[in-house]
């Protein structure tokens, strides 16, 4: 884990986790995400969902950007910026165009036994914003969850 650096907005310094692109580290990612989300004020249920979204984003990087190679690096940057809790999942692998991922459709999923797009769909359902961009030779998947007065009113 690298030294924290100051985020651009008002709030706590960023925390950056660096892991090898090995899905054996997913539980570490999940546990840390959940703890930080709880620390940002989310209830246990919402924190668990945010952790699942980050698990899915990290899995996507390992499977699609790095094609299962275990010796690459995945950076996960956590920013607690007052009204938002933001997580960036960063890789230097192949760029995956999110538009190329099939949109999740339950009926098609059943009839065609399709499994693609499920993780992406889940991320979109859990988070308030999911974005993909290319920056400085890196792919950045940005996940944002807004803090609300009553988390129980969320999804």
């Amino acid at each position: 884990m690298s030294r924290p650096r100051r985020s651009h907005g008002v709030g706590k310094p960023d925390l950056v986790l660096s892991i090898p692109s090995d899905n054996a580290f997913l539980s570490l990612v999940r546990d840390l995400t959940k703890k930080l989300a709880q620390g940002a004020g989310f209830d246990d249920t919402t924190a668990g969902r945010v952790a699942l979204a980050v698990d899915e984003a990290t899995t996507n990087v390992i499977e699609h950007a790095y094609h299962g190679a275990k010796d690459r690096e995945v950076l996960i940057r956590f920013s607690d910026r007052g009204a938002d809790f933001r997580i960036d999942v960063v890789d230097t692998g192949d760029t995956v165009d999110p538009r190329s991922v099939p949109r999740f459709n339950l009926e098609q999923y059943v009839s065609e036994r399709r499994t693609g797009g499920l993780g992406m769909h889940l991320m979109g359902k859990i988070m308030d914003s999911v974005t993909f961009r290319r920056s400085g030779g890196r792919n950045v998947c940005g996940l944002v969850k807004h803090k609300r007065e009553r988390d129980s009113e969320e999804h």
Binding site: R30, D55, V110, L118, L122
Partner: protein, 121 residues
């Protein structure tokens, strides 16, 4: 502690699976393997007791989806019991609660197979 263990138990013609831990891209092969063993043994009435399941990611849902056609084609079904709030919520978010029958307890899930057998005879 292991990230996932899956114990199995047979109650007459129903096979019970007890995943304990979590199912994600790292652990899904173990879960898939246990599911596959049931199918190889021609046991198509399956109850997954999720009492020990902390969470399930899309990889785990894909594993269930990958097996369901063979299970149902052979006159069986995969039913779920004892889902915690986190796991139930994931099923509901995706609409999977409309694809699979979910029961509050293992006994009720087993009994649902019995009732069908009784109705058919």
């Amino acid at each position: 502690m292991s990230e996932l263990t899956v114990e199995t138990r047979d109650v007459e013609d129903v096979t019970l699976l007890y995943p304990k831990g979590f199912i994600n891209a790292h652990t899904v092969r173990l879960f898939e393997g246990e599911l596959q063993k049931s199918l190889e043994q021609k046991r198509f009435k399956i109850v997954v007791n999720c009492a020990g399941l902390a969470y399930i990611a899309s990889a785990g849902l894909g594993a269930i989806m990958g097996a369901i056609e063979e299970i149902r084609t052979n006159g069986g079904d995969l039913r779920l019991a004892n889902l915690n709030e986190t796991v139930l919520n994931i099923f509901e978010i995706l609409g999977f609660n409309h694809l699979y029958r979910i029961f509050p307890s293992e006994v009720e899930a087993i009994m649902s197979f019995r009732q069908e057998t009784g109705a058919a005879s």
